[in-house]
């Protein structure tokens, strides 16, 4: 048990300075448009990061990383967050899977670029007719000698318009066989027949519908055995859900995407405090002294602390729901200014209260809905599959 402050070594302090310099030279946040979950850092910043091995800093230097430890990783995460850098360029979910199941050709030719961050990836699981029920995928891959021909449509392929590869879930047998006839591929997005069109979402972010029309790729891009895609994708999926997070060290136990939601939640609370600090009551006292405001803020802070203590797979659903609950409550608390966008006369703290109310509902959906998380949790508690 240990909750002490980490004494940063002199090397780590230098590292911090270096990151801050890199960021300030390359990045000016556009606070009018904070879609941290769905934007990506500009390519120029990514290449600077990549040059230093900071896209996957945990990997060895020879493998394209920087051989950094947990503390440095946590430093990067926190600093990016401080400067509102959308850090969604990591392929760390996929790298272990590509190492384990990828063809030798892929390991030689594609994996190095993915590891260094020069190449980016996106996830092609969901389809228009099936999201939660991924094993119902219908995008079809048909073998033709040494190549595969892919036809179908994916939905919600976030970053599908700006990624080099998609980790694609396909059907290679009878649909009725569900998870027994699925096969995974890493498809180059610049292959003829691949097309991404935008879907704009609440809060201003972009995701995509992707179309695959007679897309021909070499068998080298297949990941794992034919019809065993379900086992191939289970690992990255579990990692995405935050399963098996270790409770030692400096990373928060809420290690799933819930940690990101909790960081946004902190910004929301901070924005609400700034609102209260800059407003007065009719009797001239600060809104910070208004008992109703104090109660609303104290409850939000309580839930934020709860989120940081939600471990592993609990992190995402708890953070998503707490974020949504308090985005509502704080927007109302700060009404009417709580509805204003950034930059508008009278808006509060980068319009974060208004924008979070738009952003929050999605957090309970993407990466698996809160219901699916509860199903998974129930299974872990030894309860039977739902009726």
């Amino acid at each position: 048990m240990d909750f002490s402050q980490v004494e940063l070594t002199s090397d780590q302090l230098v590292f911090e300075k270096e990151i801050r310099e890199l960021i300030s030279q390359n990045w000016t946040p556009n606070l009018a448009h904070i879609a941290v979950d769905h934007d990506r850092m500009p390519k120029s910043v990514r290449m600077e990061m990549s040059r230093r091995g900071w896209i996957h800093p945990e990997l060895a230097v020879e493998a394209g990383g920087a051989g950094l430890g947990e503390i440095e990783l946590e430093m990067i995460t926190n600093l990016f967050d401080e400067y509102y850098i959308p850090a969604n360029v990591s392929s760390s979910l996929l790298i272990p899977t590509l190492e384990k199941f990828g063809s030798q050709w892929l390991k030689d030719n594609v994996l190095p670029g993915i590891r260094s961050g020069e190449l980016t990836t996106c996830l092609g699981y969901s389809e228009p007719d099936n999201g939660s029920d991924m094993a119902a995928a219908t995008t079809r891959a048909v073998q033709d000698g040494d190549t595969w021909v892919i036809n179908g449509q994916k939905m919600w392929t976030t970053w599908g318009n700006e990624s080099d590869y998609v980790f694609l879930l396909t059907r290679t047998g009878a649909v009725e066989e569900k998870h027994r006839t699925l096969t995974m591929f890493l498809v180059p997005m610049n292959t003829p027949g691949v097309e991404a069109t935008p879907v704009w979402i609440l809060g201003g972010g972009r995701t995509n519908v992707t179309f695959y029309t007679d897309v021909v790729i070499s068998d080298n891009y297949r990941i794992g055995p034919v019809n065993d895609g379900w086992s191939v994708m289970s690992e990255p999926l579990a990692t995405e859900h935050g399963a098996g997070v270790v409770t030692e060290g400096v990373s928060p136990v809420n290690g799933s995407m819930g940690a990101g939601f909790s960081r946004v939640f902190q910004k929301l609370v901070d924005g609400a405090i700034q609102w209260a600090a800059s407003r007065t009551m009719p009797d001239g006292r600060s809104r910070l002294e208004d008992p109703l405001v104090r109660a609303a803020l104290a409850e939000a802070m309580l839930d934020l602390e709860m989120c940081w203590n939600a471990e592993g797979e609990l992190g995402k659903p708890m953070s998503a729901e707490a974020l949504a609950k308090h985005a509502d409550k704080l927007a109302d608390m700060a009404a009417p200014e709580g509805l204003l966008d950034f930059g508008v006369d009278g808006s509060i703290a980068a319009g974060i209260i208004a924008s979070e109310r738009q952003h929050a509902p999605g957090t309970a959906v993407y990466g698996g809905t809160t219901e699916i998380y509860r199903n998974n949790l129930a299974r872990r508690l030894g309860l039977p599959r739902p009726y």
Binding site: M1, D2, F3, S4, Q5, V6, L8, L13, E16, L31, E74, M75, N78, L79, E82, T247, E248, G249, V250, V253, V269, D270, I273, Q274, A277, S278, L288, R294, A295, A298, E299, M301, L302, E305, M306, N309, A310, L314, P317, M318, E337, G343, V344, G346, I348, A349, A350, G351, E371, R374, N375, L377, A378, L381, G382, L383, P384, R385, P386, Y387
Partner: protein
């Protein structure tokens, strides 16, 4: 601005693990549901208390300098969780927290002559704490006040010790907790002022935080066992030809209960460690642990009752007993409203930290 990172390690040491194992088997064996029921309405079992005394549990979190074993608040929290798991009818938490407070006072040179120290250390004389220092009602409901002969409180800027020849009469309550009204103005009560001034405020404040954290731990135990009971029932009970655990309306409630248990446990452990090791860091964590444990225990035992259908609300169902205990154990300290009041001090702290930067585009 420099980055500040903190560790997040909730793991128990081997020794702490052994302590939990020992407490788990002791309370599971000795504090059976029959023992708990037989101890009602007072909510105290002398035999179990003697067992607690004989096993040296009253000194695990008392400094060595005053005759204890030198363990800390974290150990008390681990004990609190195990007590909660069996709703053990013993005032261990109130007694030990109060003894820690008195030990701290002794450490600053305060003499506590009004109390037979040896008897209190051994638990032959039970002491308790009056957690609400505002005294709106003149007298105060004291946890374990119906079994204690000495109660420490904070009143008008001073830490006071109230003693009686016999414990005060229990105030009847649904959870059958040994709570009682105590007042320094009561003619049966002898009141001594122990310490006044800033030091008194600090020592009291810390003791109050410890009480909240250790009490939160007992609620974690009550929730954890309620969760297990409800899960067992859901796997057993059939409706419409299937086990009710197959209905998501049931299994998702069990998942929610689980989330409450885990977060309440983690918050309590973290608050205990930080209060013990860095008492000046985020003092609101104790109130947060208590507020979350309170709301989580109230709602999750209510869900656990509901999962049982009609059986849940019968007095003979085990789950209804834990539901009742939660009301009394969680609310006697003054409820979430008071916790939120203390949590709100963190707002002022944060408001000072936040430089109003380019982030604020308001000119109004």
């Amino acid at each position: 601005m420099t980055l500040v990172l903190r560790r997040n390690d909730y793991t128990l040491s081997d020794e702490q693990g052994q302590l939990v194992d020992m407490l788990r088997s002791l309370f599971t064996e000795q504090s059976t549901i029959d023992v708990v029921r037989a101890a009602e309405p007072l909510g105290f079992d002398q035999n179990l208390w003697s067992t607690v005394q004989d096993n040296g549990l009253l000194t695990i979190s008392i400094p060595e300098s005053v005759g204890g074993d030198g363990g800390g608040l974290v150990e008390l929290v681990l004990a609190g969780i195990e007590i909660g798991r069996t709703a053990a009818p013993v005032p261990l938490i109130d007694h030990v927290v109060t003894m820690r407070l008195l030990s701290a006072l002794k450490g600053t040179g305060v003499s506590i002559d009004a109390l037979d120290w040896k008897a209190a250390l051994a638990g032959d004389l039970i002491v308790s704490l009056a957690p609400i220092s505002t005294w709106e009602l003149g007298s105060q409901l004291v946890p374990s006040g119906a079994v204690a002969k000495a109660v420490v409180a904070f009143k008008d800027g001073a830490i006071i010790l109230m003693t009686r020849e016999t414990p005060a009469a229990q105030a009847q309550n649904e959870g059958c907790a040994p709570v009682a009204w105590w007042s320094p103005n009561d003619e049966d009560v002898l009141t001594t002022t122990l310490l006044e001034g800033h030091e008194a405020v600090d020592i009291w404040e810390l003791a109050h935080r410890e009480w909240r954290i250790a009490t939160a731990a007992s609620l974690v135990g009550l929730m954890a066992i309620s969760s297990e009971i409800a899960r067992g029932y859901a796997l057993d009970r059939k409706a419409f030809g299937v086990t009710i655990a197959k209905f998501q309306a049931i299994s998702h409630q069990l998942a929610d209960i689980h989330m409450d248990v885990v977060t309440a446990r983690n918050m309590t452990i973290k608050a205990a460690w930080l209060t013990e090791n860095e008492p000046d860091f985020r003092p609101e964590l104790a109130a947060m642990a208590m507020a979350h444990a309170t709301r989580a225990a109230l709602r999750s035992t209510a869900k656990a009752v509901h999962v049982h259908g009609g059986m849940g609300i019968t007095n003979e169902a085990d789950i209804s007993l834990f539901y009742r205990k939660v009301s009394s154990w969680s609310l006697v300290g003054g409820g979430i409203r008071r916790d939120l009041d203390d949590i709100s001090t963190a707002i002022d702290h944060r408001a000072q930290e936040l430089v109003v930067t380019a982030l604020t585009s308001s000119n109004r």
